[in-house]
């Protein structure tokens, strides 16, 4: 790694409406990016990585190439114009898709393990949680996620929005 590259490492390259073109084709995002100090280049499959997935999912989104090297960063999705933002939103949503819990039908605890039955945005789901206390994570003030034994993540978008019966079942973990 030479010294000029070292300077590159500490510099943040932002994608803007002027220097970046994102396109969606058959469920894959491509990027044509022209950095200030370099040549334009096209990447046919890029990945979006939210840097603050919980607090500001639409800000500071990294764009990675196939080898997971960062090409550039998006300060805010809306910087890129509504049309592009919509494409990126869809892509990010795919990557960060979790099942949203609407209602908790039952939580059976046995020896620290638990068996859950929930109503999600996509129908009823049942799953098994290995270490309930550790798998239940509160995010910010009002959200929470549970991860099951396979690593699937389920999100409770609003704890205060849960009905009383559901709340009672998870009260212990909060």
């Amino acid at each position: 790694m030479s010294r000029t590259e070292l300077r590159d490492v500490i510099k943040i390259r932002y994608a803007t409406a002027e220097n970046a073109v994102f396109e969606e084709k058959r469920g894959f995002i491509s990027l044509t990016f022209r950095p200030e100090d370099g040549e334009e280049k096209t990447y046919d499959r890029v990945k979006l990585q939210r840097n603050f997935p919980n607090s500001t999912p639409e800000e500071y989104v990294s764009v990675l190439d196939k080898e997971d090297n960062e090409i550039c960063m998006i300060r805010s999705l809306s910087d890129l114009g509504e049309e592009t933002a919509e494409i990126l939103r869809r892509e990010a949503e795919r990557r960060y898709r979790v099942f949203r819990i609407k209602k908790i039908l039952s939580v059976n605890q046995r020896y620290g393990f638990s068996y859950w039955k929930i109503e999600s945005d996509d129908g009823v789901r049942e799953f098994t949680v290995q270490d309930t206390y550790r798998s239940f994570r509160k995010i910010g003030g009002d959200r929470a996620t549970v991860s099951d034994v396979d690593g699937n993540r389920y999100e409770i978008p609003s704890l205060s929005g849960l009905d009383r019966r559901s709340m009672k079942k998870i009260e212990l973990f909060i």
């Binding site: 790694m1 030479s2 058959r26 894959f28 990557r95 393990f113 996509d122 098994t128 034994v149 212990l172």
Partner: protein
């Protein structure tokens, strides 16, 4: 056909619809998500010509309750010709995944899945890729053995590593296991049980003597006991004394038994912890773990010392009181018991609430303890960034939460008990009124004394029941504690010693890594296809940026973790086949994070070989460059170090750890950034001393500072878990690859601060940067 997912009966008609027979299918799997991310049933069917992706839903046919079999209603069908299909790949996301491929030169989505179906899709990809590429993939039985579910109840095993189904495991087994620890105390336990029965019996007799006997026999004329007041009083006194004495005796015995049982339990747990693999610890906070073990064993101690005897005594007493009451007066006894179901119901409700509150308090106290140990351990950082206020407020928050939880437990205790006792008082009230009426009218031969006795017995029945409210939660807490402790002692180490390990007469120290792959987290490879070898007595340097996986290689060689792919061999023997003892006696490691135990410096150096003489210790310290600073300490080698004692500097600690490893005199010595905290001159000296003694020792040196590695025979450069370059220093410089870049960079850094390489350039044999 390779049937990765089980092909249900509903699939066969589907195959026919597409003009396929079962024999046409070469690989079959199912996933559970449509490409738009909604729930669906998706079949992946690979035939000789095509890959079919059928999306739809499996549903039960016919009316509910009547089994008619299941049907697959197809909503979408996509086909991909095999000859245009390349590079089946799975992209993993947060909670889902996507199967993609290169189809006709274009990236294409094939299917989606949740992490649950990921396993099947992964296996599908493995065999399908082989088919597409025309390779013959060997069938691995393990791919088709789905042991994720309990065979008894069909529920998922909550821990994939431990095939234990909590539903099919009985609670009583927990207690049975505890009794294994009580072996050897059977006689004491029998004594305690006997004493408990005796106290209970005396307890039952006492009310009779002080009520019915006293009022109806002693105070009423015409009885043989009439007027013998002193004797009656003495009798009562004697009864009380006896019951007190026996109670005290059984208390002492049970305290002793439970203390030794919990002691044994703690030892078992501790040795279990020591036996466990590294991965167990990295997954848990150590501070919380210790707290948990201590609290849990105390919980068990108190339950068996106080709770269980009390429980037994009360149960006996309730039963006895019940029988006596029934013998005295059946209708009145039934009256007294009217409230019992209501009471039982209330107790049951309280029981579950109590459990919740207790668990929450427990959690808060754990959180508080972690915060405390966190802040204390990181005290220097807290001070340096002057974050005392924030740390205090963090502590305050946790502390407040614990206080809140404690308060709710207390409030609950203070409201639930009176509520329960009110219900119990109802039963007293009933006995008073019905019994009083009986005594006044003389129904059923009720006398004043008998009524008094009855009331005493009903209280005797009620009071312990009332106490059962507490007992219930106590019992739950104890069961939880036991389950947690057994969970630790049951946790299987992922690295297990072979039962009949291979014995090497003398280790030569030849190390070979062959296609080694490893990941700490499933799916994220830290080491990928690493191969290299070091001849006996040779030295190897491992270079790479931080996070490249250098230390992981050392951990794998030490077998602190188990390799997932490939193998590591020492003298041609797989490390898995060597005994831990042999392996660790012959492989010494000095890691970056040095840990010194509380004790003298000599103790710490002697840690691996307690029988080493003082001279050995000094020699080792000299080689490690530790002797010079040790002699300057007032207490020399007997200076106390470790937590709460003299603080050694980072470099000094490293030198002591090196001395510790040298004293072990291992055939293979791993120095994992062992000299990183030292200045270059000291490092140079130690390195020379080590070279001097390492003639027939294999040395593996891990460093990111290249000057550390100037004397090694060969080098491997590792990047993102893969070996990118290998060779001698000169070869690597000549090939102008990654190593050359790193080298240039470090050289430049030195040049910037005015240090020049002697001889210039990178072409002198020992050409690492050197101090002027």
């Amino acid at each position: 056909m390779i049937e990765v997912s089980k092909m249900g009966s509903e699939i066969l008609p589907l195959l026919l619809d597409h003009g396929l027979r079962c024999e046409d299918v070469s690989v079959f799997a199912m996933t559970d998500l449509a490409l738009d991310g909604t729930k669906a049933d998706v079949c992946l069917i690979l035939t000789e010509k095509q890959l079919l992706v059928l999306t739809g839903y499996v549903r039960d046919e016919g009316r509910p309750g009547k089994k008619h079999g299941r049907v697959f209603s197809e909503t979408m069908c996509e086909t991909f010709d095999n000859d245009k299909l390349r590079e089946l790949k799975i992209e993993e996301y947060i909670s889902t995944g996507r199967l993609t491929a290169d189809f006709d030169g274009e990236p294409t989505e094939i299917a989606a899945m949740t992490k649950t179906a990921l396993r099947d899709v992964r296996i599908f990809v493995k065999y399908a890729s082989a088919k597409l590429e025309g390779r013959e993939e060997e069938i691995d039985e393990a791919d088709f053995r789905d042991d994720r579910f309990c065979p008894k109840c069909g529920r998922r095993y909550p821990d994939p590593e431990r095939k234990i189904c909590p539903h099919c495991m009985e609670k009583s087994k927990l207690y049975k296991r505890l009794f294994v620890f009580a072996k050897g105390y059977r006689r004491y336990m029998a004594a305690v049980l006997f004493a408990l029965c005796l106290t209970a019996a005396l307890g039952v007799v006492a009310p009779y003597v002080s009520t019915e006997f006293f009022y109806d026999k002693v105070l009423r004329a015409g009885n043989s006991w009439y007027g013998r007041l002193l004797e009656a009083a003495l009798l009562v006194l004697l009864l009380r004394l006896c019951s007190m004495g026996i109670g005290a005796l059984s208390g002492i015995i049970s305290a002793r038994v439970s203390a030794s049982v919990t002691y044994k339990l703690k030892i078992t747990i501790f040795s279990a912890i020591e036996r466990l693999s590294m991965s167990f610890f990295s997954a848990r906070q150590t501070g919380g773990l210790m707290n948990q073990i201590n609290n849990d064993s105390n919980e068990i101690y108190w339950f068996f010392c106080m709770g269980a005897p009390e429980l037994i005594r009360n149960v006996i007493q309730i039963a006895a009181a019940l029988v006596i009451m029934l013998l005295m007066n059946v209708p009145l006894a039934l009256c007294a018991m009217v409230v019992v179901p209501l009471f039982g119901f209330v107790v049951n409700r309280l029981f579950s609430r109590m459990h919740t509150l207790h668990a929450r308090t427990y959690r808060s106290s754990r959180a508080l303890n972690s915060t405390l140990s966190d802040a204390l351990a990181g005290f220097r950082v807290v001070k340096a960034f002057s974050r005392e206020k924030e740390e205090t407020s963090r502590f305050n928050d946790r502390s407040e939460k614990l206080a809140r939880d404690n308060r709710s437990v207390t409030v609950f205790n203070n409201t639930a008990f009176p509520a329960a006792s009110f219900i119990m008082n109802l039963s007293n009230l009933i006995v008073w009124s019905v019994g009083g009426w009986m005594a006044v009218t003389g129904v059923g031969g009720m006398t004043y004394g008998r009524l008094m006795a009855f009331i005493a017995y009903s209280a005797m029945m009620n009071q312990p029941m009332f106490m059962l409210v507490d007992m219930a939660s106590w019992f739950t807490a104890c069961t939880n504690a036991m389950q947690r402790l057994f969970e630790i002692s049951d946790a299987e180490p992922d690295v297990r010693e072979r039962e009949d390990p291979v014995k090497l007469d003398e280790m030569r120290g030849e190390v070979e890594f062959r296609d080694v792959g490893f990941s700490y987290e499933k799916g994220k490879k830290v080491i990928d296809g690493v191969s290299f070898s070091v001849g006996a007595g040779r030295s190897l340097g491992i270079v790479g940026q931080s996070g490249a996986g250098k230390s992981t290689l050392a951990n794998l060689l030490m077998r602190l973790y188990e390799v997932e792919e490939g193998e590591i061999k020492i003298d041609g023997v797989n490390v898995k086949d060597l005994s831990f003892d042999e392996l660790r006696r012959n492989v010494g490691i000095v890691s970056q994070e040095t840990y010194l135990f509380v004790g003298t410096i000599a103790d710490n150096i002697r840690y691996a070989r307690p029988d080493a003489t003082d001279e050995d210790v000094i020699t080792a310290a000299k080689i490690a460059g530790a002797h010079d600073f040790i002699v300057k300490l007032p207490d020399g080698y007997e200076t106390m170090i470790g937590f709460g004692n003299k603080d050694l500097s980072g470099g000094e600690r490293q030198r002591v750890s090196i001395a510790r490893a040298i004293l072990l005199d291992p055939k293979i010595l791993i120095l994992d950034e062992a000299t990183a905290a030292m200045d270059t001159a000291t490092e140079r000296m130690i390195s020379e001393a080590l070279t001097g003694i390492s003639k027939n020792r294999t040395t593996i040196m891990i460093a990111h500072r290249l000057s550390t590695l100037r004397d090694v025979d060969s080098l491997v450069v590792i990047d993102k878990g893969k070996i990118v370059e290998a060779g001698t220093h000169d070869e690597l410089i000549r090939s102008k690859g990654k190593y050359f870049e790193l080298y240039k960079l470090q050289l430049e850094a030195l040049r910037n601060i005015g240090i020049e390489e002697e001889g210039g350039g990178g072409h002198e044999p020992n050409g690492a940067p050197r101090r002027n």
